[in-house]
Structures are given as C-alpha cells and as structure tokens.
C-alpha cells in the first residue's frame, strides 16, 4: 500500500479557505509573496505577450502569401519578425513553464510551504514587467529591425531602430530569469519535506533544478553581450569594430553562449511536464527514472558546449566547426534516451486520451522530428547548405512550438484543476489539442520542404516557385491561431461555470495532488512526509497483461 500521505498531525489551516481567498483586492495580488499567486501573475503576463508575438507573426505570414508582398514595406517586415522573435523567446518561452508551473507546482511537489525567497520571487515578476515595459515602448515607437539576434555591426552602427531600448528590455527580463533560477535551486536544496530524498523527486522537479542551473549560468553572458553592443552604439566604443582590432564574431560567441543553452531552458521544463503527464495518463512509472535524471543533467551541462553550431558559416575556424559539430551530435544522445524512455513508459500502459495526454503525445512526435532535423543541422556540410533557410526556421519552431508549447498546454490542462479548483471541458480541450497538432504540421512541414529547396529566412520577397509552400504555411498558421484561441475561451469559461474539481481528479501520485484543489495558502493542511518512490502507479516489474486498475487513489487531504 503506497503511503505518499501525511502523518496525523493537527491541521495547520483548519477550516481556512484556499490561497485564492487570501485577499480579493488587486493590491493583495500585486504585493503577494505567495508563490501560487505569483505564478498566476506570470501566467497572465506571458499569455498577453504570447498573443502580441502571435499577432506580429500573423502579419508576417499574411504578407508572405504573395511573393512580392501585400501591405508591408521591407523595413516594417524586418521589424515584425524581429519583435516576434524577441517577444516569443524572452517574454514567452523562457519564462513559460518555469515561471508559471515551476512557481505554482514545484514547492508543492517537494512538500515545501513556499519557495526559498518569496520576496525575491515577487521581485522577479516585477523585473519581468519592467522588461516588458521596455518592449512595449519599443513596439509603440517603431520597433527594432536587427532580428532577435542583435548582430553587430548592424545593430551597433547601422540600424535606425530602437536597439538599445530593446536590448534594455531583454537585459532586465534576464535578471528575472536569474532570480527565479536562484530561488528554485535554493528551494530544492533546502526545503524538501522529510522523506523527499533527491531520487524521490519527480522528474518535473529535476527539470526545474537543471533549468534553474542553466538560467543562472547562461543569462549573464547574454546580459553582457547586449550591454556591449549598447555601449558600442551609445558611446561609440569600438568593441566589435574591426578597424580597432575588434571582431563581430566575438559578439556571436557571447550571444550564442547564452542563446544555445536558452533553447535548453525552453525544452527542459517541457520534458519535465511531459514525464509527469505520461506517467499519470498511462498509469505507469516513468521508465528508467535514473537515466531520465542523468539525461536532464547531461543536456544541461553539454548544452553549454555546442553554441558554435550557430556560427558554422560566420567565419569560425574549421577546427572550431569540427569541435562544435561533434559536441552537437553528443548532446542529442541524452535527448534520444528520454524519447525512448517516454515511449517505454507508454508501453503496456492503461492509456487515457485526456487533453494533457494528447498534447504530450504531440510533443513526443514533434520533439523527435525537431530533434532529428537538429542532427541534420549539426552536420557542417548540411548546415552550410541549409543555414539561414526555412529549414532552420522549421527546425526550431518544431522544437519550440511543437515541443515546448505543446508541453506548456499539456501542463496547463493537467494542473488546471489543482490551480483553479475547476474542471475544464474535456471535449473542447481534446478538440483544441488535435487542431493544434494538425495546424502545427500544416504550418511547418511546408517550411521544411521549402527550406530544403532553398527559400531563405527573413526574406520579404521571394521567387514565385516557393509561393505554394508559403500559402500552405500561412493557412496552417490560421488553424494554429484558432487552436490557441480556443483554450482562452473554454478555460476562462471553466473559471466561472466549470464543474468543481475534486482534490485529485486524475488520481495522480505526487505531493501536489495530496492536498485540496485549490490548495490552502500554506499548501498543505498537515506537514507532508514521503515514504514512497515517485510515480507509484504500480509495483515494480512487468506490467499486467490485462488492463488492471491502478492502485493510485486520492489520499491525504485531497477531498
């Protein structure tokens, strides 16, 4: 009999309400130090920015229906794809899962009453808002046209757009990342409840640990690279100027030293979410837990050693190309281990196709394709041919949208009952999930094809031969847009009219489910204690031939 439940101590919060009842004013939300409320503040902010970034690319995809453009000048076109990249990377993807689900679920998952530094947590949200304010200013004052990559000498010497304001926005939001990372690391090190040993941590907690490590170590290098181009631009200091012995490639080294680990910042939390969802909806322990942890750590560390694969044609030495290419192949191995282990987790499982599972299955397939196309790009000869083509665009969108956004949606739906205490409408959620998967493929598979055929990225005008692919891709984007708007509707609807959720609607294991939904302010009614391995859905050993009921039942104070 599993016992992830709680000793019989007197309840701490007898008769109290949930964290949502602690103050109903806006001020109580804006001055909260409760990790659960801060998570919701983040969720609202990143959703807003997701749609702003989406509108930007919607305009781009509309424009690309015609090879000679429809309504944008080339300058406007440049500014639109730039702001799409900046917003989506730094104001949506990087904070997405860590700042929302990490903040809300991580302390509960490890049995802690809050994160280690609650006031720092609130500060990190305000830093996000501060960075966002710069970005809104940039948007309203004409935008920036350097691409999200800010390469000099264009960004420092030639661009006539708001480079410094954009760089400042990213600089500030970077410190939000670092603060969150420090907070999570300290929380996991020091606030695990009795019995929660390192190897009893759920994989989502492990993924938060590794992503925090990456955020803390990588983000400052981005901050410095942006500071240097801003200094070059504002003060005229010749940092990357060849006339003074400088090298524009130094910027690329520093920028990608962060920006490659950044893509791991974007995918590691997604991997954590998906591990939780697969285990729960297949009623199976995660296959190879130890290897899953090892893979997370390896990706986090080796991910710092591969950044030069973004610079194969930039002017690096051939030796550097060789070293970075080799290391890029190596870093694919732990990701592949994870894909095999997720698949093995599903094997002989008792699979339910609720919305979180559909999103997670979509993740599995799309992450595999995205990862495999990444291997193509890790090979220097192929990369030389496909660099700066739509093949690269399709590759990274497959991982970031097909991967991370799918996992984000999976996590939102999985933990929605816990956070809000309401059940969403399963039919519409499943419909949206399938629509998203289809829309994604119609948008990005044509991009793989046209990239391979030679269509360059960031081009406003293009040869007629690519038009059919662009039209397909833009059509797919419309489907995707619908699929993203649907959750806004049915999730909001569920807040007001949804059925009330029991404490553990999915009969999942994990400490966060052994407490009421929505949880009380101190997370648990009684001090939690752990005596079992994670994912205790069945005994160790071979799965039963017949589909037997999992023994995980609502426990503890989940009513």
């Amino acid at each position: 009999m599993t016992d992830v439940t709680l000793p019989f101590a007197p309840p701490l919060d007898a008769g109290g309400g949930s964290y949502l009842d602690e103050g109903h004013t806006i001020l109580s939300w804006l001055t909260t130090t409760d990790h659960k409320r801060i998570a919701i503040l983040y969720a609202l902010s990143i959703t807003l920015f997701f749609f702003i970034g989406g509108v930007a690319i919607g305009l781009v995809r509309l424009e690309l229906i015609s090879p000679t453009g429809l309504f944008l000048t080339s300058d406007e076109y440049n500014r639109l794809f730039t702001i799409h990249g900046i917003i989506m990377v730094w104001f949506f993807l990087v904070p997405s899962i860590p700042a929302t689900m990490g903040n809300f679920i991580l302390p509960m998952m490890i049995g802690a009453p809050d994160v280690a530094f609650p006031r720092l947590n609130l500060l990190s949200w305000y830093l996000y808002v501060g960075g966002a304010a710069f970005t809104v200013y940039v948007l309203l004052s004409g935008g920036v046209d350097t691409g999200w990559t800010f390469y000099p000498p264009f960004s420092s010497d030639y661009s006539h757009s708001n480079v410094i304001a954009a760089a400042a926005g990213v600089f500030v939001v970077g410190f939000s990342s670092i603060a969150t990372g420090v907070n999570f690391l300290a929380t996991i090190h020091m606030l695990r409840c009795p019995g929660m040993t390192w190897f009893r941590l759920p994989l989502f907690a492990w993924s938060m640990y590794v992503v925090s490590m990456v955020m803390v170590l990588a983000t400052p290098v981005l901050a410095m690279s942006l500071l240097l181009i801003s200094a070059e631009r504002y003060f005229g200091l010749p940092i990357f100027d060849p006339r003074a012995g400088g090298d524009p490639l130094l910027f690329q080294h520093l920028f990608w030293f962060y920006s490659h680990p950044a893509v791991y910042i974007m995918i590691l939390p997604a991997m954590g979410v998906v591990s939780e969802v697969f285990a729960c909806f297949a009623r199976r322990r995660v296959f190879g837990y130890g290897f899953m942890v090892f893979s997370l750590m390896t990706i986090g560390v080796v991910g710092f050693m591969v950044w030069g694969h973004h610079m194969f044609v930039a002017g690096q030495s051939p030796l550097a190309n060789l070293v970075f290419s080799f290391l890029s192949f190596i870093v694919a191995v732990p990701s592949a281990i994870k894909v095999f282990n997720w698949t093995a987790t599903l094997y002989r499982g008792h699979i339910g196709f609720e919305a979180p599972m559909i999103y997670a299955l979509g993740f599995l397939g799309l992450f595999t394709i995205g990862g495999l196309t990444g291997l193509f790009l890790a090979s220097v000869p192929i990369d030389i041919a496909t660099t700066d083509s739509y093949f690269v665009v399709a590759h990274f969108h497959t991982i970031m949208v097909g991967g991370t956004v799918s996992a984000f949606m999976a996590g939102i739906h999985y933990w929605w009952p816990k956070v809000t205490g309401k059940l969403y409408n399963e039919f519409w959620a499943q419909f949206a999930a399938i629509t998203m998967f289809l829309g994604f493929n119609v948008t990005f598979l044509p991009q793989f094809v046209m990239g391979w055929l030679g269509m360059p990225r960031r081009y406003h005008y293009y040869p007629d031969v690519f038009q059919i692919w662009h039209i397909l891709s833009s059509g797919g984007a419309v489907i995707l847009a619908v699929a993203y708007l649907m959750p806004l509707v049915y999730l909001t609807w569920s807040l007001f009219y949804g059925e009330k959720s029991p404490g553990n609607p999915w009969h999942a294991t994990g400490l966060e489910w052994q407490t009421p939904s929505p949880p009380p302010k101190s997370n648990f009614l009684r001090p939690p204690r752990v005596n079992a391995e994670p994912y205790d859905y069945h005994d160790f050993g071979r799965a039963e031939e017949t589909g037997d009921e999992s023994r995980a039942r609502p426990q503890g104070d989940a009513s």
């Binding site: 009453p113 609650p118 907070n183 983000t219 400052p220 290098v221 200094a231 200091l237 940092i239 520093l254």
Partner: protein
C-alpha cells in the same frame, strides 16, 4: 530571543537554515555574476592576445597611483566587511555597525578616487573617438574596455555601498536584528566586488609599466 524571532522569515523553519539558505542563494547569484564578468574578460583576453603591443602602449597611460590606492582601499574594505559579519554572528552590535560604516566609507573613498581618475583620463582625451591621442587603432579597443570594465565595476560597487548603508540603517534602528541572515548575503556580495577588482587591476594597470 525576540530579536531572533524578528529575523525569521517565511518559509524557513529556523534561523540557522535561513542563514544557510541566504548564503547558498547569494553564492548562486555570485556564480551568475562571475559569468557576467567572465564574458567581458573573455573579450578583453581575445583582443589582448591579438593586439598585445597596442594594449601595452594603451595601458601605460592608466593612472597607476589612483589604481593602486583603490586596490588597497578595497582590500581593507573586505577586511572590515569580514569582521562585520563575524561580529554580527556573535551579536556584537556595536562592532558590526562600526565595521559596516567603515566598509561603506572605504567604498566611497574608492569611488571618489575613481572619479578623480576619470577626470584625469578625460583631460587626456583617453576616450575612443575623434580626439583619441594614441595609436595604433587597437589602443582604442583597450580604452573602450577600460571604460566598460571600470564602469560596470563601479556600478556594482555603488550598489554594494547603498546596500551596506541600507543595512546599517536597518540595524541601527533595530528594524532587523544583526544576527539574522542579512549580513551573510551582503558580505558575500561585497567580497565578490573586491575579487573582480583584483582581476581588473593587473589587466588594466600593470601592462605597460616597464
């Protein structure tokens, strides 16, 4: 004992764990700051390895006297900061306050010195631009890095001084007890700022001396 209770913050179960937590958190922030400066030093290192002679010529024009005085000031401030932390841990409030004030004063003296030095540098037009007096062109690269490296260090030091003054005030008014976890974090940060200078000084001041 009511003093200690005032220091305990959510969600920590006891003060000792809180102090350890703050120390750990501050070291993690330090790791990120190390990489922040490492990126800058990496750029400097790359350019110096390819323009050694120009960097030597450029470095000979830095104000060694100001730089050396500043080094001594910062080293001494690290001493007073260490004693402030130790005094706080054994609840010697008077000594803690004295050492915090001394640390802030030494830091302020550093900034005054730096200001005077900047004034000297600008008088000689040692700022990359049309009136830059040195050649070859890579000397401008050195001086670009000089302004950025010392500037960012000064920003960090100023932040440190403000925090020390704030903490001094909080302790003086007994808003926060000295034996809480505040001193841990402040001390660790201050020593880091000093360490950055210890790398910066030889790189900027000691190159072109013979």
């Amino acid at each position: 004992m009511s003093d200690a209770a005032g220091a305990l913050r959510e969600p920590w179960p006891n003060l000792q764990l809180q102090r350890q937590g703050v120390g750990l958190g501050m070291w993690m922030f330090l790791a990120s700051e190390v990489l922040f400066f490492a990126a800058l030093f990496c750029g400097y290192a790359v350019y110096r390895s390819f323009n050694a002679e120009a960097f030597r010529i450029a470095s000979a024009h830095t104000e060694i006297v100001y730089g050396s005085i500043n080094t001594v000031l910062l080293l001494t401030s690290s001493l007073t900061m260490t004693v402030a932390l130790r005094a706080a841990t054994v609840q010697l409030r008077g000594l803690t306050l004295f050492c915090l004030a001394a640390t802030a004063a030494l830091g302020a003296a550093f900034l005054v010195c730096k200001g005077l030095e900047y004034h000297e540098d600008l008088k000689q037009h040692l700022f990359p631009g049309p009136h830059f007096p040195l050649s070859p062109p890579a000397t401008q690269m050195f001086w670009g890095f000089y302004w950025i490296m010392t500037g960012i260090h000064a920003v960090h030091l100023t932040g440190g001084i403000l925090v020390v003054l704030l903490v001094f005030t909080l302790f003086k008014r007994r808003t926060v007890p000295v034996q809480g976890s505040t001193m841990e974090g402040v001390a660790i940060y201050w020593h880091f700022v000093d360490s950055v200078w210890l790398v910066l000084y030889p790189l900027l001041y000691l190159a072109g001396r013979p």
